[in-house]
């Protein structure tokens, strides 16, 4: 499991995020979820999932989420 998460990771700036949730739509590995607690602008931002459940792939750092994010709220990292 730990291994799975090592390929990539993302960081979401919860104050830049506008809660459009398009990133959640596009993530091929279902690595993003809605954070119900509102940010300062009153949106429910996206956040990376903490844990990878059984049968799921971890974040692969493919940057598809960041590619669609209208707010440039997502940074993507890839394991070296």
């Amino acid at each position: 499991m730990a291994k799975k998460t090592k390929k990539g990771k993302i960081a979401v700036d919860r104050e830049l995020c506008k809660g459009c949730h398009i990133c959640i739509e596009v993530c091929p590995n279902n690595r993003i979820e809605v954070d119900e607690s509102l940010n300062n602008k009153g949106y429910s931002p996206a956040r990376p999932k903490e844990n990878v459940s059984e049968g799921e792939k971890g974040c692969v750092g493919c940057a598809m989420c960041a590619t669609v994010c209208p707010e440039v709220a997502i940074e993507v990292y890839r394991a070296q």
């Binding site: 104050e15 949730h21 398009i22 739509e25 209208p70 707010e71 440039v72 940074e75 990292y77 394991a79």
Partner: protein, 257 residues
């Protein structure tokens, strides 16, 4: 828990974008287009030599987000203003960023003639089939049947005419060397859009003539749709009226490769 893994940032904010959060609505295409323009300028090393001309439209405050010199033009006149700038600074990089109302309605004459003169300018054309900033009035590009606050029963060909394909009209002009239409609503198209923008910038650097990239862009707010539905609507409906792909290319770039 486990040994630290070394991570490298593979995606972040381009330098040509400031840190300011945008005023755009959630799911709006404008902010994606901004990022693509910024990435291209970064990658081509143009930021410090660029003068941008935003429209009057939702992107009127683009200078709050773009991290390069910008001058505001009156509604529709971005390409006339850009002509003035470019003729004074032929060695600088000049781009306009315009909405469909700005570029194709009130600014139609300025657009056509700057294009026809072959001004060495790159135009980014955000087609969201609506007047975003002023609250959802009909645009020249509004689809048939699409509702707008000034077309409450939907656009009707007899009354309002059909959606205008200004990009194809511009392609007829001699001074135009490159026109491509992309969408901002799938990963594939976003990547294509970036390529097209780069190519358009290259046309200017190579002094070839005028170029334009049309970007089909969602406006969830004025389409009165949830974000996802708006993105889908671009991919499923808008593309029928505005087919994606190359419209004109006399650059010869592909041939060279």
């Amino acid at each position: 828990m486990s040994t630290e893994i070394e991570y490298k940032k593979v995606f972040g904010r381009p330098e040509s974008l400031k840190d300011n959060p945008t005023h755009y609505c959630p799911g709006c295409g404008h902010s994606i287009a901004h990022r693509l323009v910024a990435e291209c300028l970064d990658e081509m090393g143009l930021r410090e030599d660029t003068i941008g001309v935003p429209p009057v439209g939702c992107a009127v405050l683009a200078y709050n987000y773009f991290n390069f010199d910008m001058v505001e033009a009156p509604h529709g006149r971005a390409l006339a203003v850009a002509t003035g700038v470019k003729r004074v600074h032929p060695d600088k990089f000049v781009l306009t960023y315009q909405g469909d109302g700005d570029l194709a309605a009130i600014g139609a004459a300025e657009t056509i003639h700057a294009a026809n003169r072959g001004e060495r300018i790159s135009a980014i054309f955000i087609n969201n089939a609506i007047y975003g900033m002023t609250g959802g009035q009909m645009a020249p590009t509004t689809l048939l049947g699409q509702n707008a606050t000034t077309a409450p029963r939907g656009r009707d060909a007899r009354l309002h005419g059909q959606p205008i394909d200004i990009s194809s009209m511009l392609a007829i002009c001699g001074g135009v060397v490159f026109v491509e239409r992309c969408a901002l609503t799938t990963i594939k198209q976003i990547r294509k859009a970036k390529k097209a923008i780069k190519k358009s910038f290259q046309c200017q650097l190579d002094d070839l003539g005028f170029s334009l990239v049309e970007l089909l862009s969602p406006c969830p707010t004025n389409w009165k749709m949830p974000v996802k539905a708006a993105w889908d609507w671009v991919n499923e409906e808008m593309v029928k009226t505005y087919p994606l792909g190359l419209i004109k290319d006399t650059t010869g770039y592909e041939d060279k490769k």
